[in-house]
Symmetry: C2
Subunit: 302 residues, 2 copies
């Protein structure tokens, strides 16, 4: 089924102990769309500047990604620069130049309005809500990401947006911040009334955890000897997760669990190389192989 | 099969955000023995002082724990005091009084010398080796724990002891320290030549990871809403792990995986209450129930 993503398309400058890139295509919606396109058709809504060339757009071509919703406007594309520490868990932001992204006002092309699976990447909760207002009928599943900035600055807006979401995908520090609790399990209960029914906590090298009414599901991160660049890992996870669900047209527990695994698979590939390098050259066969390795990684019999 | 544990028996004073105990029985060998005794017979070697009363020893009675190897000697029992932070991951040691433990020189009663499964809790690597010299014949499985103190102060001794171990069970920071690498996967390869063939990394609230030649197995920590006291969680994990293996008499991959789950089960119970309170009142039925919850927590089908 149709999957819509709304979020940033950006250029990133990245330093990690494994190297450095000056300018590589990134942004939440980019990672998400490329990851999800292995599973289903993706409708992309974002904004770029005049510096976004046909060569940059090439990453979307030949994939099941519709870019009619990618607005090109005078000015420069969102630029982010960051440096990762030795353990890749901490990063320092060296530059954030919003540029055209500062005026992002997502408009859905008519053909996107019937999208049934929707991912609202980390943007102003008001804009996330404006996207939902443009959707016709009732979507099957709305998932959203957010960040400390919105949790701190616009908590009421975020709460309101959460009322319309089925799945909230955030990392552990955001979970703690949102709930003012250290424990990761209790926040879910707070969120469930009247917010999303499913909380997915992305824990980086510690994997991911899904909490919903009926229970908890954990998936480890894929053990890698040399992860290069964690940028986009969470959005690639989201892409694998939502792409799988939209592809199979289900949101039942068994499907959600599989989606967690495919999300983890896509996140694990994303970090293997800088930027989108690994996802660009990935095959569906490699995805399936790694999913089976996740089985091997977690399977036991009592 | 017979399981031998050599390590500390102590009194602990513990503060956590959930409460405080002034003096409760603890020590690595104590947690290990109680946890393992649900699965197999345990031979305990340790040392206590004159302040160790019959009431203290009651924790071992009525269990499959042989305490003939628990030496009672003039002086006071090892005492440790610590305080946990809000997130229970960090702790400050407020007092370490080795007392009689400073002169611990493990002696195995004759009937212990044929033990086939051996756990050497965190003590001087030289003493760990002296235990192995007292064992008759070839043990089936030797596992050991260690800590930053020995990694820093007696690295050569530790390396020598590791040559005689099949399984090394340490936490993630110790793994990084031992290998001078942040990555948790690569250290295993260093250790495997000529050291233990299996590395088990205890990651607290992030679960545990087993690395051996053939691959990696991950088990999450059991999600708890109100963990009270992490003291002894790692030793309870080790007790469940080794107890299960000794009980089933196998050390094949499938058994090792199950042992990781039973270890996690015992660790999860240990943290639910202060000191040994939860393990003392635990039933085998509860253990089996929780093991099935671990299945539910991790199971997916592709």
């Amino acid at each position: 089924m149709s999957l819509l993503v709304v979020g940033s398309v950006a250029f990133d400058a990245i330093e990690s102990p494994h190297g450095k890139v000056e300018r590589t295509l990134g942004g939440a919606a980019t990672y998400f769309a490329v990851a999800a396109s292995f599973f289903t058709r993706v409708n992309l809504v974002g904004i770029v500047g005049e510096d976004f060339s046909d060569r940059d757009a090439a990453v979307f071509r030949g994939r099941k990604i519709d870019t009619d919703g990618l607005e090109r406007t005078p000015g420069k594309t969102f630029f982010w620069a960051g440096r990762y520490s030795q353990d890749l868990n901490d990063r320092v932001t060296l530059a954030t130049e919003l540029n055209v992204f500062a005026n992002f006002n997502p408009r859905l092309p008519e053909k996107y309005r019937s999208s049934k699976y929707i991912f609202l990447a980390n943007i102003d909760p008001k804009l996330q809500r404006s996207v939902l207002h443009q959707v016709n009928g009732r979507p099957r599943l709305v998932a959203l990401d957010t960040m400390n900035y919105w949790i701190e600055r616009t908590p009421a807006d975020l709460r309101e947006t959460l009322r319309h979401a089925n799945v909230l995908m955030i990392n552990d520090s955001e979970t703690r911040q949102l709930s003012s609790q250290h424990n990761l399990l209790r926040p879910a209960r707070q969120l469930f009334h009247p917010g999303p029914k499913t909380l997915i906590i992305k824990r980086g090298e510690h994997g991911a955890m899904m909490v919903h009414r009926d229970g908890v599901f954990c998936v480890p991160a894929f053990p890698l000897e040399e992860p290069h660049d964690p940028t986009g890992a969470g959005d690639s996870f989201a892409g694998g997760f939502m792409g799988y669900l939209a592809g199979c047209g289900s949101a039942k527990d068994a499907a959600l669990r599989r989606a967690m695994v495919y999300g983890s698979v896509m996140g694990s590939f994303a970090v293997e190389r800088f930027g989108l390098d690994r996802l660009r050259h990935l095959t569906r066969r490699e995805i399936n192989q790694r999913a089976r390795l996740f089985e091997r990684l977690t399977r036991f019999t009592l």
